[in-house]
Symmetry: C2
Amino acid sequence: MPVNLLPPLPTALFAVPGVRLGTAMAGVRKPNQRDVLVMELAPGTQVAGVFTTNRFCAAPVQLCRRHLDLLGVAGGIRALIVNTGNANAGTGDDGLARALSVCRSLARHLAVEVQQVLPFSTGVIMESLPHERIEAGLPAAVSDLAPAHWAEAAEAIMTTDTVPKAVSRQVQLGGRTVTVTGISKGAGMIRPNMATMLGFIATDAAVAPGVLQALVKDAADLSFNRITIDGDTSTNDSFVLIATAQAGHAPIHGLNEGDGAVLREAVVAVAQTLAQAIVRDGEGATKFITVQVDGGRHEDECRQVAYAIAHSPLIKTAFFASDPNLGRILAAIGYAGLSDLEASQVDLWLDDVHVVTNGARNPSYLEEDGARVMRQSDITVGVRLNRGTARTTVWTCDLSTDYVKINADYRS
Amino acid sequence: MPVNLLPPLPTALFAVPGVRLGTAMAGVRKPNQRDVLVMELAPGTQVAGVFTTNRFCAAPVQLCRRHLDLLGVAGGIRALIVNTGNANAGTGDDGLARALSVCRSLARHLAVEVQQVLPFSTGVIMESLPHERIEAGLPAAVSDLAPAHWAEAAEAIMTTDTVPKAVSRQVQLGGRTVTVTGISKGAGMIRPNMATMLGFIATDAAVAPGVLQALVKDAADLSFNRITIDGDTSTNDSFVLIATAQAGHAPIHGLNEGDGAVLREAVVAVAQTLAQAIVRDGEGATKFITVQVDGGRHEDECRQVAYAIAHSPLIKTAFFASDPNLGRILAAIGYAGLSDLEASQVDLWLDDVHVVTNGARNPSYLEEDGARVMRQSDITVGVRLNRGTARTTVWTCDLSTDYVKINADYRS
């Protein structure tokens, strides 16, 4: 089902010095599957995150923000606890109390303070978190803690995902080998700012205070904030970047040049791979679509056009059908909200096939060329607005009958 | 398939003095189906319209605007020509020439000027209009012209519609019986401003210049601009109001009181019935959903919340599954863009079932009550924002596997 996406080879995932991972089967929603993940961080680790903009943000997101404000940059966060099966969103004060109870329980096991623990939840909204079950699973997860358990961690955070998502890179900084390893989950309720996704990237790089927050925002904007499956922004989206500072190089003070640029590129590459993996494993996805819009006056209008295309059910069903019904793309460009757009200036490509020129069907466009590209599993839609120099890229998937079936059956 | 929607009884459709209708099978896209409609209007008829905001608006829409600017209020429009099977959008100057050729041909048959004809097209985008076939069908349509042919007209404008849509009302104005009769089409690519819909309402009322334009805008805002099926705004949406002034009462100069208010109510009621019929016949629809949002600071924010709910694929698939997975509605309210919304103030109802209070699950809410409402074919989602007195209502349908199948197969 996933589009050109294979499970990560555990041997290709490098451990990150300063990070240990352990999982358990706590039976949060269903028995016999890993549904709890604990990540333990060495003292002195910095953590920065970006979270959903949804006003119904979940209880764990509220606690994450609070604990990170207190301790993130200062280097006091010592553990993450993730559960699937229940989102603990739309649960009010009771939800906050239950999330805090889980944090308190893990803090006791690890002999740290409750505010040194960050909680994450994903699953059904508006149901009470079965916190006793999660807490009962903690001893098993804690005794499982080991640096090499990244593949098991990727599996433990899956919900409707069909493939665990993880990737690793190594770069040289100041003569030292530095590792960047990340995992993510998410397959539906995915849209920028952010997706129903959880993303965790850890590195043993040493980063000066303040730089980590800039890096996590950069990486999110270039990866998780550029994907959409169904346009639904979740209550629980969280992307966290962890820096343990154990690699032994001089701390990084900026991201634009030298070692800072090398680290930035590695983190962005890992984040993009994880984000694209979410789309490739999108619920019911059979096609991976890259939407590139250029020639805009500013990036915002490029994003408007790109998301109008990426969210259109009519376009997404046409991709599912491999039907080059490309007028639907013109319609989406037309309603994207650029009120002064001159339709007659717009060009459209499907991969290298020039479909529309000057706002109308290219006289030399042949339907068989469009049909050939539409049959591929990886397709690029190129839109040129011809009114400026700004550009953007967004990744999405098609809309299939299986998407509907998966979401109609999700709770049963 | 359509949700609680029956075809109109031809006997329930009152003729409108001053309007004659004729149809033909021109083979625009497929043989043996009515695909061309001509409406002939008596001299002195006023016409006003509202059209798509899509920047790739179709050639016929451009011509309609031009001809209405010249002649609409002045009372010079004498005929409408509608074809299905081809939208004549994304077709550039050649599309304009083809639409004009059709108008010219009909003008010759009716012995009027080309600018006295309004053209309308609906169907596939970005393909050349087979104008010769339409023109070859005009003699049959013209010889078919008769005041009683409203039911045949409703059938002739269908595309993926499964049921023709028409409704009639009569009211008393100045002691005279005045008729309001309308037809519409549309089942996909439907969203406010406007839907891929065509709507034509005719009345024999006499309306002072200027008032008709206000009335058509009012009626659109309260009907066609409140429906959404898939969030795709078409290139061809058109809603036209025709007043032949043949009823013999004194002309109406305002809409807020007396006869003007009576006429307004009748036109709005006809427009709402036609708009709701489009949703009830939405592609693959199995449920008709009314989304009511109240307690907002202004109507715009109520609309934002209502459309976030009405466009969410996750919510729409939950309705399809009759699954009271109502946390998805909270998530949509949360990402609707009200950046200062206090989640803890929000209430949610499903019909009369109070699901959420103070932003969290109502302690007395029982899943079986939610499940009971979800099994109905007509459902009202009620959201109270509790921060003002504004309100709005939007109508939509669920998202089913059949929606995907219909749109994946549309051109085959």
